[in-house]
């Protein structure tokens, strides 16, 4: 494994539903604007690979990760909580603990909508620094940027600057899609990250 890519890869563990998309897009943009590469389970669609194995593979390739527990809540129809995010957080912490070499250098950012809510459902991670984003993309961009600054070799613009750039990108996105014959509502993760990274390369 190339250590340079490993150090730059950021695994994003979050819900992929429509209600979370605003935050997800903001996180992906912030990761790229800070000079890192966003990775997540949506990047590959290999029906022959077991989903959890795909997640383990990506985790092993990422030094950094962002885990958002804000949607761990009771589902109205099943009356059960969604637990994919805590499971993947556990896999990441396990890789750091039991893994060898570069795996030991793993670091993660844990997010929730309120700062101490996690203590009610996942108290074993008490003592870790959980950041609250209040379901606000502007806040999540600042939190992600401030955390990534610790792991960057170069200066990174402030959260407010990245937020301003994100707003310009958001206004350009429908026009970009039109130019490329893409339907904005049908953008897949790989399309989105390509547009973000190339837009930043030219505009940042």
């Amino acid at each position: 494994m190339k250590t340079s890519k490993y150090n730059e890869n950021v695994f994003i563990n979050c819900p992929f539903d429509a209600t979370y998309k605003t935050l997800f897009d903001a996180i992906v943009f912030a990761v790229f604007d800070c000079g890192f590469v966003a990775r997540c389970a949506l990047e590959e669609d290999d029906g022959s690979q077991i989903r959890v194995q795909k997640i383990f593979d990506i985790i092993s390739q990422c030094r950094l990760s962002i885990h958002d527990l804000s949607r761990v809540e009771i589902d109205k129809s099943t009356k059960l909580p969604r637990f994919n995010m805590p499971l993947e957080l556990g896999a990441f912490l396990g890789a750091k603990h039991y893994g060898a070499g570069v795996q030991k250098k793993k670091a993660c950012l844990i997010l929730d909508r309120e700062k101490y809510r996690y203590q009610k459902f996942i108290s074993d991670i008490a003592g870790q620094d959980i950041k609250a984003h209040d379901n606000n993309p502007k806040i999540v961009i600042r939190v992600v940027r401030d955390w990534l600054r610790t792991y960057s070799q170069v200066s990174i613009p402030s959260g407010s600057v990245i937020w301003s750039r994100y707003q310009v990108f958001e206004s350009d996105l429908p026009l970009l899609c039109k130019e490329l014959n893409l339907n904005l509502k049908e953008l897949i993760f790989n399309d989105y990250v390509l547009l973000v990274s190339r837009w930043l390369k030219i505009n940042a």
Binding site: E8, V37, E43, V154, L176, I188, D191, K201, N203, A204
Partner: protein, 61 residues
Amino acid sequence: MAKKTSVKRVSRSAITGRFVKSPAKAGSVKYRQVDRAVRTVSSRRNGTINSRSTHRSKTQA
């Protein structure tokens, strides 16, 4: 014997010189095609139309 030096290919932002990483696995559209679209949209936003766009719009008209 001279020491071997490795040449590392990097990608820098055209404006700030900051490093900008590209995704590990590219999607369904090509870089060059995307770059052209980004430049076109950025130029429109900034009110500057490059010569190629002008030529195309005249041709289409």
